[in-house]
């Protein structure tokens, strides 16, 4: 078995497992071209491809990108003022991001979880007292930047994060702000 793996080591990653790619869908071809330029200028590994038949957009091109850096990709596109109408996974076009929040009230503290990320805030002072969960390397960095800061003054996760974990934290952060503002 190991012998076979070593023989096929060059390409067996293409024959096993899930695709790690995502697709950016735009309204117009011109937006695809602009987005591709912006992302390539930042050194990102993206490709323009034809859309899968399930996606009906009117635009005949999509951009394939490494899904894990979704937050970084969206940040670049937002700054470049070209935003996709849809972000989906190559693996299953019906997959959509988690949209349910899990909220836990500890009395003095409130915790909101979105997907695999949690943020906890002191309800009186709005100090962010903890960020936990996740697995991508921007999580400890984001925690370092946010913990101890006021919820309304802390940097948003999307301004510093790069990955899907950072994106999950952004959603949890937004939900926490919505709840704390009443």
């Amino acid at each position: 078995m190991r012998f076979l793996k070593s023989i096929f080591a060059g390409f067996s990653d293409k024959t096993k497992g899930l695709s790690e790619k995502g697709i950016l869908v735009f309204r117009h071809t011109s937006e695809v071209i602009r987005a591709e330029s912006l992302l390539k200028e930042q050194g990102l590994d993206v490709l323009v491809k034809g859309p899968p038949p399930e996606i009906q957009t009117g635009c005949d091109m999509v951009i394939e990108f490494p899904l894990i850096i979704q937050l970084q990709v969206l940040d670049i596109l937002e700054k470049g003022r070209v935003e996709p109408i849809q972000v989906i996974t190559v693996q299953d076009h019906l997959l959509e991001p988690v949209s349910l929040y899990n909220v836990k009230d500890f009395g003095e503290y409130l915790m909101v979880r979105a997907a695999n990320m949690k943020i906890t805030v002191n309800k009186d002072t709005l100090e962010i007292v903890n960020v936990s969960g996740g697995g991508c390397p921007d999580v400890p960095f984001l925690a370092e930047q946010m913990v101890g800061r006021n919820l309304l003054q802390a940097p948003e996760p999307r301004s510093l994060g790069q990955t899907l974990c950072g994106y999950s934290l952004q959603l949890a952060y937004e939900e926490m702000k919505r709840r704390c503002r009443g």
Partner: protein, 286 residues
């Protein structure tokens, strides 16, 4: 034979370093470098180092690099590990916060599997994500998911916990169903340590034991308590315990850590570590 902890620290300027780790008050030391023990891989490594000391064994080694999510540090680490693997004499490797990258994951896994004495492979955090994504989850000895990550393992199409499908809700009463589903799709390691209100220790789909007491609710909110658990498991494996026993004892110890520290949700994992020695002893009754 040594044990290697592999992961990242949240500082882009931190170089790639490999060596025996030490603790100096609130800092983890490796070579000439110091890192604050706050959360993430430094918290895992510090816990493993301190727990090893309590168990009377040598501390583990670590391979660390700076990465704040851009991935260049992770890729540098992956490449180094593939190159160094043939010369490493390792009883086991604990993989932690790394940017998921299927190509490099596969190179690392195959390099480890080429060794005449294959190390035990433990995966947590980002490396567990990519191990599942690669389709080689079953080649691992242990994964340590929480409930959200267990749903991700159970969803055969999800490439990341963010895209876990909505019908797999984070419902702790359905953990057994998620475990079964993850194994049936070959998306689980040989052993699972599922962290939650009740911890599940699983071997080849069979739930061997559960741990639910003592129960300290605030631990769920504290960043790094999953890292401390994986650190204690690592130390127990280094001490020679079989995987199920190492997990069961670590689950108990991590819960005693909470019981002794009496934390609020505002505690950091560093606030818990002064209680580690006693909690390890309580989790390892003679």
């Amino acid at each position: 034979m040594s044990w290697l902890i592999v992961g990242t620290v949240p500082d882009e300027d931190f170089p790639l370093v490999r060596g025996r780790i030490r603790i100096d008050r609130d800092f983890l030391e490796i070579g000439q470098h110091q890192i604050k023990i706050a959360r993430g891989t430094p918290a895992l490594a510090a816990t493993a180092c301190m727990a090893a000391s309590v168990l009377g064994i040598e501390p583990p080694e670590a391979l660390l690099v700076g990465d704040t999510g851009k991935g260049s540090g992770s890729r540098k680490l992956y490449a180094h590990l593939v190159e160094a693997m043939p010369d490493l004499e390792l009883a086991g490797i604990t993989f932690h916060y790394l940017l998921p990258d299927v190509y490099w994951h596969n190179q690392v896994l195959w390099a480890a599997q080429k060794k005449s004495r294959q190390p035990l492979l433990v995966a947590d955090a980002g490396f567990m994500y990519v191990a599942k994504m690669s389709g080689f989850a079953a080649d691992y000895d242990l994964f340590t998911p929480d409930i959200g990550e267990m749903c991700f393992l159970a969803d055969e199409t999800a490439p990341h916990p963010f895209y876990t499908r909505g019908f797999l809700l984070e419902d702790e009463s359905r953990v057994e169903e998620y475990i079964s589903r993850a194994y049936s799709e070959k998306n689980a390691a040989r052993h699972l340590m599922v962290k939650g209100a009740k911890d599940y220790i699983v071997q080849d789909q069979v739930i061997l034991s559960t741990v639910s007491e003592p129960s300290i609710e605030a631990m769920e909110a504290i960043g790094g308590t999953g890292d401390s658990l994986t650190g204690i498991i690592t130390a127990n494996l280094m001490a020679g315990y079989e995987i199920p026993a190492a997990c069961h004892k670590a689950a108990l110890s991590n819960r005693y850590l909470g019981l002794l520290a009496r934390p609020s949700p505002a505690f950091s994992v560093a606030d818990l570590l002064p209680f580690l020695e006693q909690s390890i002893k309580l989790g390892n009754p003679r």
